[in-house]
């Protein structure tokens, strides 16, 4: 009965002072939203990083000297990095006894006719199906049979972010290719690439003189990068940083990209962004806390008289306490729920745009993984609301009614 009475008073109060409550709810929502977006972006890029590094599969990547930063950028953003070096470098790298396995890659930029409507720049990556150890293992689960299957000369594998399906036809430089499989998503730049058997790429270049509108100038003795797998240290291998140093010393034409560097680069980009977002959200939080404190203090002062009057009419301390508490919980609860829904929706909806403009990879975790994050945020916001409401509630309910009534005059 008393609970109904408190709820009734809260309802009437909110209805009569709707504007004040809306401002409070909106500021709580903004604060919670900022926090949740920061946490989401953090979470998504970390997941993407882990997956992407696993997916890269190589311990080291060799590129022409001085161009490792280009490749780094391309892994992060999916923008094509176009450079070439001599094919013989692969053999020279394979000659080192700490190297277990090597496989070449070839980077090509192309306009693609995706068969329907749209033309877009596509990042083509040539790979050698015979020696490859980094791409085929990542065919999306329902194509796993593809891992054992030979990839045909007119087949390509497509990154997950391209929106293609198995069996789609793509045209590059006047040649048609069939999408033979889709790679599982990582959120990294490679999701936007199309992987093409390296021999088909050379053939495409050779025939582009006659078949395509644009010629592709590419000699078959050129490659862009060499993916390197090192021997385990117990089998006589070297730690990655030592191997990288050794290779760069002995083959001056190359620079070595270490996936750890990539991870560091991502962390760097991420921490700048998150620092900005966090400081903005802290600023909003403190402004909100101040606002809530102010509004509640004002409201309590203004309402001291009313509370005193209600006490004079026979309202118990418990009733007043419950009333103010309910209000604080309601504001905190609706505010954080709105903030949570809006920020999750916006971050997920705009994720590829955010990812591209921040230079940070994103991997959308399943909704299931977002639930604990959301619940934590919600619980924290409710707790804050409760604590923020507690002090004014206690003070208002402790006052002598006569003092309360007079203080409002």
């Amino acid at each position: 009965m008393k609970h109904f009475l408190a709820a009734y008073l809260v309802r009437k109060n909110i209805r009569r002072r709707l504007f004040r409550y809306l401002i409070l709810v909106v500021s709580v929502a903004a604060a919670v939203g900022m926090q949740v977006s920061a946490a989401l972006i953090d979470r998504m890029s970390r997941e993407s990083l882990e997956l992407g590094l696993k997916r890269l599969g190589a311990d080291l990547v060799a590129v022409p000297a001085g161009l490792d930063a280009e490749l780094q950028k391309s892994y992060l953003t999916g923008d094509a990095a176009i450079f070439y070096m001599d094919r013989s470098i692969q053999d020279r790298i394979s000659g080192f006894d700490f190297v277990a396995q090597t496989s070449p890659q070839l980077f090509i930029k192309s306009l693609a006719n995706a068969g329907c409507c749209s033309l877009w720049n596509i990042y083509l990556v040539g790979f050698d199906p015979d020696t490859d150890f980094t791409i085929k293992p990542w065919l999306a689960p329902r194509f796993t049979r593809g891992a054992e299957r030979k990839i045909g000369a007119d087949e390509v594998l497509a990154g997950a972010a391209l929106g293609l399906e198995e069996g789609n036809t793509l045209r590059f430089y006047g040649q048609s290719f069939k999408v033979g499989g889709i790679l599982s998503p990582t959120g990294m730049g490679l999701d936007r690439a199309v992987f093409i058997p390296i021999r088909s790429a050379y053939r495409m270049a050779r025939e582009s003189k006659t078949k395509a509108e644009q010629e592709l100038d590419l000699s078959p003795d050129k490659i862009s990068a060499v993916l390197i797998k090192l021997k385990a240290e117990k089998d006589g291998g070297l730690p990655a940083y030592r191997a990288a140093f050794e290779l760069e010393q002995r083959i001056p034409e190359i620079s070595i990209l270490q996936p750890e560097e990539l991870a560091m680069k991502i962390q760097q980009n991420l921490s700048t962004v998150l620092a900005g977002l966090r400081s903005a959200s802290y600023a909003i939080w403190s402004a909100t806390a101040l606002l809530i404190a102010l509004v509640f203090a004002m409201a309590t002062n203004e309402r001291k008289r009313e509370i005193g009057l209600m006490r004079a009419m026979g309202a118990t301390r418990g009733l007043i306490f419950r009333m103010i508490m309910m209000e604080a919980l309601l504001v905190g609860g609706t505010g954080s729920l709105i903030g949570l829904l809006c920020s999750t929706g916006l971050v997920l909806g705009f994720s590829s745009l955010i990812s591209q403009s921040l230079g940070v990879p994103f991997y959308q975790p399943g909704l299931g993984k977002l639930v604990p994050l959301s619940l934590t945020a919600l619980a924290l916001a409710l707790l804050t609301g409760m604590i923020a409401g507690l002090y004014p509630a206690l003070r208002a309910s402790r006052m002598e009614p006569y003092q309360a009534i007079r203080s409002g005059e």
């Binding site: 009437k12 009569r16 009057l309 309202a315 118990t316 009534i405």
Partner: protein
């Protein structure tokens, strides 16, 4: 029915002490309409609030129905006040987020009585507010607000009605109509204690107390 025994009230401490009331004693019997006269600032409001249990006296005792109200717990006192005492304040005392009807209904509910909109409506109509039933405080004149407060205090049928300057700063016509309503309530059996500085109202009272309350 009400027994005030050697009550004094001191505000502040040390040099800044203000003696609002000093050693005041009086008694009010069932069915009386007592008026307590005194100049402004003579502690009239304070004694009314002490009797209502809204503030504690510095010394002395107050008995309502033979019970010393300041020996009760806050909970007991609140319940006792809710059931037995109707209060009409000097200042604007409507709750601004509730309309007239809801103010009166809250009076019923807080007294632990059944929420009865018809009863509340009748109480407002008796106060001549039949066309202001759904109005909020900012849509009512001071006199109308005062009448809502009286309706709210009377609707729960308190044993005693405490009125603090119920006609303060109102025009003579409104003053007269409010006094007539209090008279009707008295005739219906309510014991009334009213404090005022306006001695021309003494014709409504069955007894007049005139005391300089400050020692």
């Amino acid at each position: 029915m009400i027994k005030v025994q050697k009550v004094s009230k001191v505000y502040g401490a040390g040099q800044n002490q203000i003696h609002a009331i000093g050693d005041l004693s009086f008694e009010i019997y069932k069915g009386e309409f007592v008026m307590l006269f005194g100049p402004s600032g003579s502690g009239k409001t304070t004694i009314l609030n002490i009797i209502a249990g809204l503030t504690r006296p510095s010394r002395g005792k107050v008995f309502l129905d033979q019970q010393n109200i300041f020996e009760m717990s806050d909970r007991q006192l609140t319940g006792f006040r809710a059931r037995n005492i109707g209060l009409v304040f000097q200042s604007q005392s409507m709750l601004t987020h509730l309309n007239s009807l809801d103010n009166v209904r809250l009076g019923l509910r807080l007294a632990g009585k059944k929420d009865d909109p018809d009863l509340a409506k009748k109480a407002l109509i008796r106060m001549g507010l039949e066309d202001r039933i759904l109005a909020y405080a900012n849509e009512l004149s001071a006199g109308q607000q005062r009448r809502v407060s009286i309706a709210r205090a009377l609707v729960k049928r308190p044993k005693i009605l405490l009125c603090d300057e119920p006609t303060g700063d109102l025009d003579p016509d409104t003053e007269k109509s409010i006094m007539e309503m209090l008279k009707k309530a008295h005739q219906a059996g309510t014991t009334i204690l009213m404090v005022t500085h306006n001695s021309s109202l003494d014709s409504y009272a069955t007894r007049v107390l005139q005391k300089n309350l400050v020692r």
